[in-house]
């Protein structure tokens, strides 16, 4: 019975990690340099989720990894930009604000859904307890 709580908790955690990746994407929507300060466009992070809270076969969900989106970068013609290539194009991150915002709403709703499931389990057990009291 208490395992149901763990399922909802794993869902909340996974959605929070996803939300972190989305926030990171939005913050880096114009980032053209990498960690080391070299010209390299930021790549959108995608959260991969897998079944099983701890390992495969257990109930719940886990974050299998946060990986870079290999999709094409946004190319903008701006020859005067310091990061412009020989062709005059600057590579900007493959982050789309609308996509990220929609993802953020979805992650927040999914988190809420897990909270709701958690509360339902709680009231279920509390109701069972009323028989005793």
């Amino acid at each position: 019975m208490f395992g149901t709580f763990d399922i909802s908790v794993s869902g909340m955690r996974a959605q929070r990690v996803r939300m972190t990746a989305i926030a990171q994407n939005l913050a880096n929507i114009n980032t053209t340099h990498n960690d080391a300060g070299e010209p390299e466009a930021y790549r959108r992070l995608v959260t991969i989720m897998a079944q099983g809270a701890d390992k495969a076969g257990s109930p719940g969900v886990r974050v299998a990894g946060v990986v870079e989106d290999p999709g094409p970068l946004r190319r903008v013609n701006d020859p005067d930009h310091p990061d412009a290539g020989p062709d005059g194009y600057v590579s900007y991150p493959n982050v789309d604000m609308v996509t990220e915002n929609v993802d953020a709403i979805e992650a927040a709703r999914a988190f809420e859904a897990n909270v709701a499931a958690f509360e339902m389990t709680k009231s279920l057990i509390s109701n069972a307890l009323r028989i005793l009291a």
Binding site: F5, S8, V9, M12, V17, A53, D54, V63, F118, L129
Partner: protein, 145 residues
């Protein structure tokens, strides 16, 4: 304590519920500690050994039943038994978390809340059992229901 009184308090549901409630209270403190340290770099999430306590409790109940004696615990790896039967627990690092931060910490506020809710429910069950037992005792003392 006179024999008939210790029969009521040292064995049976009251004794078991008392130990369960004491464990839940001690565990709540550890969980609160985890929550307070949710942003502490390098902090490792700790917990009381729940499975170990439950196993020890099951063994103590079984022994009390076969010997028809009081509930008596044997010390285990992370649990010490005082002279008066008081149990003290040693917190252990929690291993189950799958999420690691750069400082190798495994904290998650959701998990702590989840564990706290479970722990609170266990405590409530124990408290209700004790309340029920008390009601029965009072009824027996007054001689009417």
């Amino acid at each position: 304590m006179s024999n008939w009184l210790s029969n009521i308090f040292d064995r049976g549901p009251l004794a078991v519920a008392g130990k369960v409630a004491a464990f839940a209270e001690a565990r709540q403190a550890v969980l609160a500690d985890n929550m307070a340290n949710i942003d502490t770099p390098g902090y490792k999430v700790r917990d009381l050994p729940v499975a170990e306590f439950q196993k020890a409790l099951a063994r103590a109940i079984g022994q009390a039943r076969t010997a028809d004696g009081p509930l008596r615990f044997e010390p285990t790896r992370h649990m010490a038994v005082g002279r008066d039967g008081q149990l003290t627990f040693e917190p252990v690092e929690r291993q189950d978390a799958n999420l690691l931060f750069h400082d190798r910490g495994n904290r998650s506020i959701e998990q702590e809340i989840g564990e706290m809710v479970k722990n609170t429910l266990v405590h409530r069950v124990a408290a209700e059992v004790m309340r029920k037992q008390q009601g029965t005792l009072e009824a027996a003392i007054r001689g009417k229901f």
